[in-house]
Symmetry: C2
């Protein structure tokens, strides 16, 4: 079982990754759970169907306190309506300031359940039990959020979990596109931190068909990159912005295609290609890197279809609403070579040029 400790200003917590992390409920986290009066599992309904029993078994020593609320699967749960429904559920079940939430599902479930925890009676503790590879990204850092019709993650709070428990066995039933989604964020962590690791990943032909052992090790590395950045910059004032590599255009792809159509990581893969093209345009990375990345992405069956199906203005509209917009400027995380991210303001014309390039070079 791998473990790393995240230290933020007011709070410290551990992330555990391995095949049997849920045993920790009855050992390391026994005290915390016994000190609460009620515990709500907020669970993605598909995950609950497959695995709720496993989690309940691990919590059987305090089963009288535990209730479960299922929510729609994936991004569909991150609405104001589901958020309010969860709050009402907790109140109807007699939850208090001494209660605790367990988020059981992918990144979306963690975002929603985390925001519920952040704001229920102005904040109660929560434990993340992510069930997707992608969640190795979202489960670290304490960012919680819901979506608005106008954009993704527009409403939320910073709220650090008490612990994060990845049970890697639960990944075995993930559909292929979910695996692709999670590994895109892993690749992002490599791109913004380590050249050698990045080229290793780009050379890995079974990248999207990984073994559980390889995955545990790689996720620990990816999580470490994220944790290091979050420790330094909890509230995204500076370096934490680098984690948004690929996300400015990626979020626009998600917006244009409709949330939930393309998986998050699949959209981010397109966004990273876009950022590499912008970096190339400015002379900060080589054309050969972009080409290698796109070839790799296509071999691993990531799709670039959205940029061929929708006009530039559609993406532009979403980017102008992005949270990373500051004083009306279009900001992107670019690379000055692999491992050296920086934030740069781009013009609409530069974006258009990158967009045209992206279309040509992914044909």
């Amino acid at each position: 079982m791998g473990k790393l400790t995240v230290q933020t200003k007011d709070h410290e917590y551990d992330i555990h990754i391995g095949s049997s992390t849920y045993v920790l409920f009855a050992t390391e986290y026994k005290q915390i759970l016994e000190n609460t009066d009620r515990i709500a599992i907020i669970a993605d309904e598909k995950v609950a169907d497959l695995y709720l029993e496993k989690l309940q078994d691990a919590l059987s020593f305090i089963e009288d306190k535990v209730v479960c609320k299922t929510i729609p699967t994936g991004e569909a749960s991150k609405t104001v309506e589901t958020y309010a429904e969860c709050q009402s559920f907790l109140l109807q079940q007699g939850f208090t300031r001494e209660s605790l939430i367990i988020a059981f599902g992918g990144g979306a479930c963690g975002d929603l359940a985390g925001f519920v925890a952040a704001t229920f009676m102005r904040g109660i503790p929560y434990i993340q039990c992510p069930t997707t590879i992608l969640a190795h990204d979202s489960a670290v850092g304490g960012k919680t959020a819901i979506n608005m019709p106008e954009g993704k993650n527009m409403v939320g709070a910073f709220h650090q979990p008490e612990a994060v428990l990845f049970q890697t066995g639960l990944f075995s039933s993930l559909p292929e596109r979910e695996i692709r989604s999670g590994l895109a964020e892993l690749l992002k962590h490599a791109f913004i931190s380590n050249e050698e690791w990045t080229y290793q990943l780009l050379a890995n032909e079974s990248f999207t068909n990984p073994s559980e052992e390889w995955l545990s090790e790689e996720l620990l590395k990816g999580t470490q990159v994220k944790a290091d950045i979050v420790e330094k910059d909890e509230f995204e004032q500076s370096t934490r912005k680098f984690l948004n590599f690929g996300h400015t255009f990626g979020h626009a792809v998600e917006g244009v295609c409709g949330y939930g159509q393309l998986s998050h990581g699949e959209a981010i893969m397109i966004g990273m290609a876009f950022s590499l093209l912008l970096s190339e345009e400015l002379g900060h990375t080589e054309k050969s890197l972009t080409d290698q990345f796109i070839r790799f992405a296509q071999t691993q069956k990531y799709s670039f279809q959205p940029v061929h199906e929708h006009p530039f203005d559609a993406f532009m509209g979403y980017m102008q609403k992005d949270k990373k917009m500051s004083h009306g400027q279009l900001n992107f995380v670019l690379l000055n070579g692999i491992g050296n991210p920086f934030v740069n303001t781009m013009t609409k014309e530069q974006c258009l040029q990158a967009f045209e390039q992206l279309k040509i070079r992914t044909e």
Copy 2:
């Protein structure tokens, strides 16, 4: 113009009380306002009708940045729906992380607008411009919240404002029951801090018909009591609970009567009588104090009608959902003599006895 500084762990801000505090926008707060890209006034619609122009005049030096969103008056605005509507409004107006919110209205407006600010893109700054006497309480301390059908202030966040500006001239149009409401919280601040001041207030025959000058001075005193407590205990782990004197039963009164039927302070006045009766039951305060308090309240036209119109169980149901419930216990702030508040767990039977006493002694 009176001023006091509130110091919390990560943040310091000033509260200004006087007849022309809005001039500070163009002087002391000019820099903050010029550093933002957009400013939204979230205004109670009734307050906006009367006074929006005054506020806009004070902001005329940056009028291009300023937009206004009006919301329903009073507690009716503190719904999930209005909250989501405000978030959508900000997004549609192109607000970013560099934007700022001004809350313009009573305590409810401050609670709602503060919670919008706390969670818009995970938190942007806000300035409180309270327009009621009651808001001298809610505008200090950074508690923000909305109501759920299951209870008041059940969902929210701690979010400290950049500044609080009370323009006392705006109080002149307050209806009588709003004046009574605000002064009840002032009296609460006296009860939990200072015996001499409390008896001064209880002896003041024109308590609910105050001059602007008296009001400025008294509000500064009340605000100071609250600010001192908040500084010591920002997240309500200990002494901040004392500010809930009268609120356990008071919130139940609001719940039973329907939010907005009775003003908040009117309900808290009944709640303080209830707490004095519990304190008396335990031998911590004199019967004569309770009697003096009830006589004073009745002379000043505070109503005790709700306890005569609704059964004990109706109030009990609300109290059992109160946030101050911990591990299923009924906790109340009681007095061990004026100025010495403490938290005590009471049984349902003790509450019933106090309730019966309250009915008899307010007949």
